[in-house]
Symmetry: C2
Subunit: 571 residues, 2 copies
């Protein structure tokens, strides 16, 4: 029974009793990451480069890569960082099987030294250290989110997998957070995009990270199973259209909740209510669809405590709503509480207002208090924009279901994280592009989040790792990125170190967070961000700045590089 | 060695020797579909409906669903149908484990009859029959692509999984086919979108179906392993920037191919060539990046037969191209054939023309015939539009790599296939929506493709299954969809039945096609389609029509439904 109540799906379920994945789920997830992201699921050039490093004896050189994105997604002012959990499981289980190595042998040139394949066979992440922003943190463009340090060949091999695991997770989590901001805090949000995602795993990843980003429920049963996300759903139109007549309803009786053991003829009872509803609403009984009523009756008899039909298979006003009210009133008479209705087409706002008015009429006329708490679910190709509009218009929608636009991130279907080399053998590395935005910032770094007196973060400061951290209350000079290269002076009220070591020499050193924990982190992180950065349209851009020393290193590296070497002439 | 040559990756590899997945790969794929698409990876409402059908004793009623999409993707005139292979594996292995059933028990209401879970535990697809368009066929909006017939509860449970497996596969395959049309037949296309896909499986699915849609190569090693797709890739910018000086190059020698056993000092040899190249091109040696040359040298020594560096880490004209030519000329001197270069930023067309001019200059000046066959790879955020433009402008790009816009289908990131009930217990079912486009076409059907005298398909005819097929040379009357409901008369020169039975009563009855076979099918199917339907912009729309009898059924069902029943008044 406790097992049941832990997982049981309901549209009204609070999140406080959301289930965490069960113990053995963790093992499933670790196995699953090896199936989902085997070490061959990467770009070929990682292997060609790894062999070139190995051949040159450079494969063990200590190297540092950074993962970041260059623009906040969806034209917004922020992103959320997600995917770390999967990255940690991936790093922990990273190794090549004999079969993997045999395939690589068939792909690399025949002259490849056989000892390289022995090297690959013995490879793992025991030399790798990962410093990362905690999963679920609000982050900004150009801040290095992850720092991956370790032997050059190994950290190079990790690139594509880490990008693949972070990019979509962060993107869809950010998208969900924007839908949540558009919807307001109280409306309940249901993710239902599995059928529109990039295949099965795209759908599962979407369910997980949209929940983390602020969605309450998912239609995806496997996501409930693996991640403990509350699942919801009742019926499709096909269920309704599969019925044509009341003769198909079976059983036809229902036992009242009041203890009376005699089954009641539920069809007759409902027909009586339907007459009264038609009378009250001056509806034409001739327009009511018998098949729809049969479907509702059959469903209500099966689920007397979970009655929430889709009411627009034919016509909401002429049939679906009347049939719902009749069945719901019959349920109420027997002591059950109907749950509500779903609208899946047309103008959801207007219809929801009409439906609520009818619920209130019934409640007054028939004195059924259960009609006070009926919920209205709206699902009809909702985009961020339509969610925003919906929130501004008069409506009575309690739960919104979102599919396509949520999981495919129509507005921007990829995040564009990159993974750049910043240090080899303790020496900073920089890619100097003719497009300044594509140049990288060299050196191993620390990142601090500076917070103002009101508790709002106002600047992320990127320093050299060797620098001492900024001090609360003490003014400092820095160089905001994207400005005209002039310094700014700021005084933080508080300073937080943005990243932490989460994986040291092959070991996960930070507790793996459950989806529920990361979900809470998202909301608390978003809470602190000033509304001007969270605005969905034309937000104020958040400042990311380099410390004086790091700025100096960038300038010197560029200068040194433009003087270039005279190696050609000198030799 | 045959194993090697089967898989060996090369930018120039012909497709005729493309590997089919090895025998044991098939088993891997079948296991993999159970991991990727377990039967719980579906929407909860499939289970709530299944229980309601079971409770009402309707679960065994014979039912028929159809899968189709309502609009051709990307504003185009056609789509490709893909995902069938995965659907067949999914159907074949469909069953619930004890663990699945226990989880469902915890999710469904406590009052759910325990016998229902026994029923689920014993469920499989032995009662299911699937008729489908062959994978890789050109298809059009509103044509029923798959017909899934079987016990009502079972075929209902399959909905989300089938949609999930077909939607993205067909979408990304169609996207790839459009890129192929934009690129022209001879340019080679490389898919490299793994890091931007919806997680690992999104990336793998993308690699597979873009190859089927017309791409030649993938960067994704796992896709090579599982599906035999030729893989390609050499180096990232990080490889180049990881070098700073020639001192890092090791080994520094290379043995000539001519049989001379004495290793040649490859650095000195290349330096000599670099001076001559600079002289020829009147380039400033002081601007040449030593680190870049070191990277190229080290790579060339490792891969003397596979030298294809990325040449824009610093400046193509001032450094990368000069370094490439020097190393390539040194390789030629030792009897090796350099492969080419990759450009990853800026104006690819203009740069490719410049690069080719330099190749020709070197070829003439230094008499190196190998420079005639150097290839230029372009990779820089290519979209369908930029591919189209590229194809129209002067350029020398031989291979184009496409990532983000290909795998995320930026122009339209979901296809929108739906799965609609059309028959129960032999009686047609129809969803009559206030939006006529959302109404369904009732009844079990056959679909014929009518072909004109030139061999071009010109009309897909949707008939009732019981009708006799159209006859070549005989005129017939039909009702084109989306027209003003007036009949049209057509005479086909040939008639083809569009769908075939591929899964009967639990058995796959049609050979599972390899990726290579389906890829060939795509091209042959596209070949037959008239260019006016294949135009990327504003194509002529292809006609899909209902037979007279089916049109009559639609009209009668609508009429019957608007008269509705008098069940309420009668009782």
């Amino acid at each position: 029974m406790s097992q049941r109540s832990r997982h049981q799906s309901t549209w009204n379920q609070g999140l406080d009793n959301m289930a965490a994945p069960s113990g053995n789920t963790r093992g499933v997830m670790e196995r699953s990451i090896r199936d989902r992201a085997p070490p061959l699921l990467t770009d070929l050039y990682q292997f060609t480069m790894a062999y070139a490093y190995w051949r040159a004896g450079r494969h063990q050189e200590p190297a540092v890569f950074e993962l970041f994105f260059r623009d906040n997604p969806f034209g917004g002012g922020f992103s959320l960082f997600a995917g770390l959990h999967d990255c940690l499981l991936f790093l922990r289980s990273f190794h090549f099987t004999d079969e993997d190595v045999e395939f690589l042998r068939s792909v690399l040139p025949p002259a490849t030294d056989p000892d390289f394949f022995k090297f690959l066979r013995g490879l793992d992440c025991s030399g790798v250290t990962l410093r990362s922003v905690p999963e679920g943190t609000v982050v900004f463009a150009r801040v290095p989110l992850m720092e991956v340090a370790g032997p050059l060949a190994v950290v190079q091999l990790l690139e594509t997998s880490l990008l693949c695991l972070v990019n979509y997770a962060s993107l869809v989590c950010s998208n969900a957070a924007r839908f949540r901001l558009a919807a307001g805090p109280s409306r309940r949000l249901l993710e239902m995009g599995l059928r529109r995602a990039q295949g099965p795993d795209g759908g599962l990843t979407a369910s997980r990270y949209t929940h983390i980003g602020g969605f309450d429920l998912t239609s995806n049963v496997q996501a409930g199973f693996l991640f403990g996300i509350p699942v919801a759903g009742t019926m499709a139109h096909s269920y309704v259209t599969s019925f044509t007549s009341l003769e198909e309803v079976w059983p036809q009786t229902l036992v009242a909740l009041n203890g009376d053991p005699d089954p009641v003829d539920f069809i007759s009872l409902t027909k009586g209510w339907l007459s009264r509803v038609c009378e009250l609403l001056r509806a034409e009984p001739g327009k009511i669809r018998e098949g729809e009523l049969a479907g509702f009756l059959s469903y209500a008899i099966t689920y007397p405590q979970n009655f929430l039909p889709v009411i627009d298979s034919y016509s909401v006003g002429c049939s679906g709503l009347l049939n719902f009210c009749a069945v719901a009133l019959a349920l109420c008479e027997l002591g059950y509480r109907p749950v509500g209705v779903r609208l899946d087409s047309g103008d959801l706002c207007r219809q929801s207002v009409d439906v609520r008015r009818v619920f209130r009429l019934c409640r007054e006329h028939f004195s059924t208090s259960a009609f006070d708490s009926l919920i209205i679910v709206g699902t009809n190709n909702i985009s961020e924009q339509s969610m925003d509009e919906l929130n501004k218009m008069e409506n009575e929608i309690d739960v919104v279901g979102v599919g396509t636009h949520l999981v495919t991130c129509t507005k921007q279907p990829s995040l564009g994280c990159v993974y750049k080399l910043v240090e080899v053998r303790g020496r900073p590395r920089m890619k100097i592009s003719e497009d300044p935005k594509k140049s990288t910032v060299p050196g191993r770094k620390s990142v601090y989040r500076l917070v103002d007196a009101e508790g709002h973060p106002f600047l992320d400061l990127v320093c050299l790792a060797v620098e001492s951290p900024p001090v609360a209350g003490v003014s400092l000079s820095c160089y905001p990125l994207g400005s005209d290269d002039s310094p700014a002076s700021v005084t933080p009220a508080q300073v937080a170190c943005l990243r932490q070591e989460v994986f040291i020499k092959g070991q996960v050193t930070h507790p793996l967070c459950s989806a529920a924990e990361t979900r809470a982190k998202v909301q608390s992180s978003l809470q602190t961000v000033h509304p001007r950065h969270k605005r969905l349209h034309e937000p104020d851009s958040y400042t990311v700045a380099l410390s004086k020393k790091l700025h100096h290193l960038v300038t010197e590296t560029q200068k040194g590089s433009s003087n270039s070497s005279n190696f050609l002439l000198a030799n």
